[in-house]
Symmetry: C2
Subunit: 207 residues, 2 copies
């Protein structure tokens, strides 16, 4: 049984602290080798999943044409969002995606099961949550390979699925921009720009 030590703890802390949500102005177009992409997906594939169902699927998107269409949907959705943030003028100046600038995009899907899944009988959402665990593994491993990831959430899942011709048995969980970057910020961008503060940990309350 593998035992970890202080050096391993420090290593994981450094990775977690250095991980960023990367937007378009930071990506460059350096190629990601298939071998490395495979390592990132392998990390995702060893995430925990409810009943060991591993209900994730990854669609790799390089097509400029598809990405342009996804970007159009981002703009449409972001125009709606801008109205909601009209009292916060900072919103308009934020770069919130890297769809076209990143080397590739990945749509991460949840495959709905027709059969009962162990552990998912009382809480249906567990399947989706397993996919998110896989995304977080991917994200951390990408950072360790010095590759940036941005989660683009200002998109209409229905539209994204249509553009990518995705079967109805899948649900879109995440749309990621993935690529090498010129820079990782030392702190989250929204913190640096004063959009919101870093949450402090509550004192540990035990019941």
């Amino acid at each position: 049984m593998k035992k970890f030590n202080k050096k391993d703890i420090k290593c994981l802390q450094d990775i977690m602290l250095a991980r960023r949500d990367v937007r378009g102005n930071k990506f460059n177009n350096k190629k990601i080798k298939n071998k490395i992409l495979n390592e990132l997906l392998t990390a995702a594939n060893c995430a925990p999943s409810v009943g060991f169902s591993q209900p994730w699927k990854f669609v790799i998107i390089k097509s400029k044409n598809k990405r342009n269409k996804i970007y159009d949907n981002f703009q449409e959705e972001n125009n709606k969002a801008k109205k909601k943030f009209k009292n916060k003028p900072l919103y308009n100046s934020l770069k919130l995606e890297g769809i076209k600038e990143s080397y590739l995009n990945i749509a991460v899907l949840y495959e709905k099961s027709e059969k009962n899944v162990l552990g998912q009988t009382s809480q249906k959402k567990m399947g989706e949550y397993s996919v998110v665990c896989a995304i977080q593994n991917f994200w951390l491993m990408a950072r360790t390979y010095n590759i940036g990831v941005g989660w683009v959430s200002i998109l209409k899942p229905k539209r994204v699925k249509k553009i990518l011709d995705i079967d109805k048995k899948y649900k879109l969980i995440a749309y990621l921009s993935v690529g090498y970057v010129d820079e990782f910020l030392d702190e989250p961008e929204l913190l640096k720009l004063g959009w919101s503060d870093k949450k402090t940990l509550d004192e540990i309350k035990v019941i």
Copy 2:
């Protein structure tokens, strides 16, 4: 800007591969120091979150009385589940939680926002997904401290919230058993027992 190298990659791979979902028969009752618990929560607290909203909250549960009540709910829900798996007799022999055996339990909550959240305007679920990212950070850091985590999903969230007296502005995302263990299995238990196979990565398909 922090650059990671091959040693860091190996370190993270080892942690991810050694992480397990731990059930009751593996936990021991060794105390987790507050300082260490704080480190695990700090790892959770640097997870990515939509619009840097950090919408997570952790409730630490040691109370035997509360845990007994949660366990009762597990039994109730698992009795329902057993009926769904009546064609798979292995189900009945599985130990699926460690509520009472682990040193402590943690309820992980999502705090619903009354205000608009950046990035959450087109996909409401993003807030919950952020909480799952925090859980996965917690889980990996716990493993690095040689502490086991089990996600107990065969529970009725409504009932758990009532037992723990949790305000309605929060949604229960996860109920975790957390503690030192006598053993981490070398492979996921459900794989070892033949419940399901390890998913192989599809060949990378690019569109």
